[in-house]
């Protein structure tokens, strides 16, 4: 049995996880002062962690936290205003507004906050991290590790971005349809980045990163619910659900890495796959194709193996062709080369990979070397394959995948 303080602590943490973004967004909506909202909320969480273990968890934890945070902020405003006698009436107005809000349902400002963080006046590279911090409450160090930047640099950028929201007058609003494109892209990109970072830790050993995947799906659901008319928002959610459905199948009982082609379809989460399929067909009805829908369609083709017993590589190859024409990244090109090898033979796939070899970014990209090694092995070019496996092994950070690659390399000699 857990002790009462532990239960209270868990309740406070759950409330923090679920309500952080909602509360920050609400508290900062009118003042645009995200940093001040976070400070007030931090005080409220500290008070909760101190009080709830003694007095019990309140019936509505979210309302309790909001009340405390709001009191802190009103106190701060009042202290400032009372020093300026000429502004007495402003204080009255502020109090009146706060009082009125108490009775109303807490409006959900999260989406507006996300779009404020994705505003073109915010440096592009910090938009996704800013969303992760203000909406999910991740600390700068966690975000820094996900975005391969030093915590100090990330911390600085986040502070600067929050100051910019306040000082330059960036509004909290969902953009009009015409200007949605660029900003929705940034929001979806942040969500995908959160998910991908979490998903790349399949063992779930690092809880923080595991949370990133869960939170990515949660945010994806939020955006898809609020914007059901946006096909790419639906496509991204579908994509994440397809991937999530395979989470447990990616490891054997012994903790070994299981590649997609060898996964046991019965271990895939049927409910998640069904939901993803429904989202994808709903998105397709709009007639506007985008990168997330295409990536989800690839996942859908893989998922179909549970029904047909085989993988439709020509379909996957066609999808990657389309994706490459939209995104054109070397990452997409590698996947396309793998599909090409399945449809036209290892030599064709390898030729497509060699064309990419000039891209210096691939020198440190494990999937490139793993794909290359696999195709060379198929062609019986043992020394080159073994060299490519060495590169891939050296670049891999996941021990299970490293063991898998080492096994492949060892099998070459037979």
């Amino acid at each position: 049995m857990e002790s009462r303080p532990e239960i209270a602590r868990a309740a406070a943490e759950a409330a923090a996880r679920q309500s952080y973004g909602k509360l920050v967004a609400w508290l900062a909506a009118r003042t645009r002062d995200v940093a001040a909202a976070e400070d007030a909320l931090a005080d409220a969480f500290a008070a909760a962690l101190e009080r709830w273990p003694k007095s019990g968890v309140p019936e509505k934890p979210e309302a309790w936290l909001l009340a405390v945070a709001r009191r802190r902020r009103v106190d701060a405003v009042r202290r400032r205003l009372t020093r300026e006698a000429a502004r007495d009436h402003l204080q009255l107005i502020a109090e009146e507004i706060e009082a009125r809000m108490t009775d109303e349902e807490l409006p959900d400002e999260r989406l507006r906050l996300m779009f404020a963080c994705a505003h073109p006046a915010i440096e592009p590279g910090v938009r996704a991290p800013l969303i992760l911090q203000t909406v999910l409450g991740f600390d700068a160090a966690t975000i820094a590790s996900a975005f391969l930047v030093s915590p100090a640099t990330m911390g600085q950028r986040l502070v600067r971005a929050k100051a910019r929201i306040r000082e330059t007058g960036i509004p909290f609003r969902v953009p009009e349809r015409a200007e949605l494109g660029e900003r929705l892209d940034a929001v979806l990109e942040a969500i995908y980045a959160a998910f991908a970072e979490g998903w790349s830790d399949p063992a779930g050993t690092e809880t923080r990163r595991r949370n990133l995947a869960t939170e990515g799906i949660w945010l994806g659901r939020l955006v898809a619910t609020l914007m059901p008319q946006e096909p790419e928002a639906l496509g991204l959610l579908a994509l994440m659900l397809f991937a999530e459905a395979r989470r447990t199948a990616r490891r054997s009982a012994e903790g070994d890495f299981v590649p997609l082609a060898e996964q046991d379809c019965d271990q895939w989460d049927r409910a998640l796959i069904d939901e993803a399929e429904a989202l994808l067909s709903h998105a397709a009805a709009s007639g506007v194709v985008g990168r997330y829908q295409l990536e989800a369609a690839v996942q859908s083709a893989h998922a179909a193996r549970r029904l047909t017993g085989r993988t439709d590589w020509p379909a996957i190859r066609a999808l990657y062709d389309a994706l490459f024409s939209i995104v054109g990244s070397p990452v997409v090109a590698i996947n396309r080369a793998v599909a090409l090898a399945e449809t036209e033979g290892a030599m064709a796939g390898l030729a497509a990979l060699y064309v990419l070899g000039d891209d210096k970014r691939l020198d440190e990209y494990q999937p490139y070397w793993a794909a290359r090694a696999g195709l060379l092995a198929k062609l019986g070019q043992v020394p080159q394959a073994s060299e490519a496996y060495d590169r891939a092994i050296g670049l891999e950070r996941d021990p299970a995948v490293r063991r898998f690659l080492q096994g492949k390399r060892a099998a070459l000699r037979n």
Binding site: R80, R83, E167, G169, I170, P171
Partner: protein, 122 residues
């Protein structure tokens, strides 16, 4: 919020402009200023004489240095400004985009740091 729109233009390109185009541009600026005023966003705005009329002053080691020319020698120079009232930066960006200078040079947008926000509270 109050915002300052700073117009930065390539002076030499403007000087080389044929007379009809110059007239066209003046008309565009008049129309823009009129639109700002009608909407209630206009607070102030002036055109500046070219940098050949510029003098830069700085005191170094207790000595006043007076230099003939602008502070920074770049391709684009400050050529004029507008001060506007806008609800938020999106509204200000809309006004900046309508400014004729946005198509010929750059319009730099900066919020005014209101005195009440930075003066020490007594």
């Amino acid at each position: 919020m109050r915002y300052m729109l700073m117009i930065n233009n390539d002076e030499s390109a403007l000087a080389a402009m044929p007379i009809e185009k110059t007239q066209q541009m003046s008309a565009a600026y008049s129309a823009y200023t009129e639109a700002l005023k009608k909407s209630g966003a206009w607070l102030a705005g002036e055109r500046l004489r070219p940098t050949q009329a510029t003098t830069s002053v700085r005191i170094a080691d207790g000595k006043t240095n007076v230099i003939d020319g602008p502070y920074a020698d770049t391709k684009e120079q400050l050529a004029g400004f507008y001060m506007i009232e806008a609800a938020d930066i999106d509204t200000a960006i809309e006004w900046a985009a309508r400014c004729p200078a946005a198509s010929t040079g750059t319009v730099e947008l900066r919020p005014i740091w209101e005195m009440a926000d930075y003066l020490p509270k007594t």
